[in-house]
Symmetry: C2
Subunit: 354 residues, 2 copies
């Protein structure tokens, strides 16, 4: 357990000089600096982050709150954040919590409230006012990536607009009987995002003067997983008479499940049913899924960059920044419609110009 005093002794200087030499703050002659650095290397000195944090109040550690790690979108975000944080010399402490409850309160009131993280990034979590308050009240920035956070800066795509765009793609192809497989998320996580996508769907349908098909306005809720999409699609497609000719799924996972269900029901894809997803899943290309692509890995990087900037840490400036050097929380993150083979004009009916 070598300490900085050992380094100092070996280099023949005081603790303070050793500290300055190693941290690069304050005046140290080049010769001294070199001696200290060499001494440190000799005895394999590694600074204790605890001691440093204790006095500086900075931990070089960011807490990440995320509802799932094994859903594609979240896994990508997490990887993007981890890489970026590591490059900046920061640690990532993971808090995986889906549901509200005592577990969640404990994370905010105990784990995150302690002086162990410099900032918090909440991914796809709908933060409560109290939760934001707990963190900000302790002087730490908290930002939301997706999800919602009253008061907290938020980095997100334009879910409503993108959902509208997806639906309009189906309309443009001439579909009139369109259904929406909406995300349910029993865990309430990111419920708002799903509500926004649903709203975007409704926007497009209303504007096209179309009523969604089926009961309950052609909207069936699905857990945002492949099996969830499968189950919901079976339900939606159960009665041949009321079947839609196209489906807008709230996520690519749901869309994959729906494709599977359609196959199971003997429906030809995309002839009998067009499907558009949402997310830009890494398997979308393989399955020919038309989708609204977003780039969660890049979003993870943006979120970290934003936090670094809030912490006054220098970063590369390859991402959205306002003139005053702060992250741009107003501009929505990028999405893109990627058309593949899963969407086509409805077969039996003539193409209707809109």
């Amino acid at each position: 357990m070598t300490a900085i005093s050992d380094v100092a002794r070996l280099a023949g200087v005081s603790k303070s000089t050793a500290s300055r030499a190693l941290s690069g703050r304050g005046y140290v002659s080049e010769a001294t600096r070199r001696r200290v650095v060499e001494a440190a290397a000799d005895i394999g000195y590694i600074a204790s982050p605890n001691a440093a944090s204790l006095v500086t109040g900075r931990t070089k550690n960011v807490g990440v709150v995320i509802p799932f790690v094994n859903r594609w979108f979240f896994g990508e975000v997490l990887e993007g954040m981890e890489r970026t944080l590591l490059a900046a010399g920061y640690d990532l402490t993971l808090y995986n919590l889906a549901l509200a409850g005592p577990e969640r309160d404990r994370v905010f009131d105990f784990f995150l409230a302690r002086k162990r993280v410099d900032a918090v990034i909440a991914v796809g979590v709908d933060l409560t006012e109290r939760e934001v308050e707990v963190i900000e009240g302790r002087g730490k920035p908290i930002i939301a990536l997706g999800g919602t956070g009253p008061g907290a800066p938020r980095l997100a795509i334009d879910d409503r607009g993108a959902a509208r765009l997806a639906t309009e793609h189906l309309l443009d192809l001439g579909h009139e009987r369109i259904a929406h497989l909406a995300g349910a998320g029993a865990g309430s996580a990111a419920r708002s995002v799903q509500a926004l996508r649903r709203a975007g769907f409704a926007d497009a349908m209303r504007e096209a003067d179309l009523r969604p098909v089926g009961e309950s306005d052609g909207i069936v809720e699905a857990e945002m997983t492949v099996p969830g999409g499968y189950d919901a699609a079976l339900q939606l497609l159960g009665h041949p008479a009321t079947r839609p000719t196209a489906i807008f799924a709230a996520s690519d996972e749901i869309a994959f499940g729906a494709m599977r269900a359609a196959e199971r029901l003997g429906m030809a894809l995309p002839g009998a049913l067009s499907i558009i997803g949402f997310d830009g899943h890494e398997h979308a290309e393989l399955f020919g899924l038309t989708t609204i692509e977003q780039l969660p890995r890049v979003q993870g990087r943006y979120a970290v960059d934003a936090v670094m900037r809030l912490l006054g840490e220098p970063t590369g400036d390859a991402d959205p920044v306002t003139p005053d050097g702060l992250p741009d929380f107003d501009r929505p993150l990028e999405t893109r419609l990627v058309i593949r083979s899963s969407t086509t004009a409805p077969s039996a009916r003539p193409l209707v110009a809109r």
Copy 2:
């Protein structure tokens, strides 16, 4: 920023008594304890883990090294570990590193070597001797879950035996033309696991006196992803003349990709081709995939329990423990053959009894 001295003053006791009252170590009268606890609650006191770590040397934080977070298996393990650690009051610091290289060295030599974690769990990583040495040399336990670690305790399934079992299932069904889609893992991560599964396949084939079909002994390497399996299967199934009647895939993701490729080639499943996977992926049931099931989430819990025990932390004892109270690193973790609809007897040929 309330400190323990504030609590002490408010409660009218000394710092040491306040510390004892709050930590529960040492003698404190019940009345005093209550006063201190109340005072702490009044001013919203939360202890600084940094200060405590500094003197005790314990951080209540475990470092997790994992090559991927968005592959199903690893995501599950991670979730299992996170839950268990959180319940034990520990933090999880995530290091996501796939490849060897300077990045990886930096994690071990800098991030993990500092006194910021009490232990390290390496999931699906092939640790080098030096890496194990770096951690253990600093007095911290390191355990491997899957992957390999020379010297480090290892928790793993019997990959070779399970792969053999999978192959035998195909043999039992009467298949004679069997191929193996082996895991390649360009990142070299978990290469050994993939080698073990390949060996198990070879074991079974040798014992059955069969030669794998196709070139290169009927083994095609695939990245352990759905697209990876798809590409490899296209290659394997490219020439109708040399097609196998059954495939053992080194992971369920590969198997899904292979199923997709077979469909694309117009092969009827499972009539023209039986496929067995490996892992027990959450989508296996939906796609009717026969597989060797393992329970990564539970494995994550086991790994954490094992580490907790090495750290002398009390845990529930619902998992494998040797008589001396230490984790049982010799007994392989559980696997189970789950037969679904993706494997059946070869169609065109008569069933051959073995």
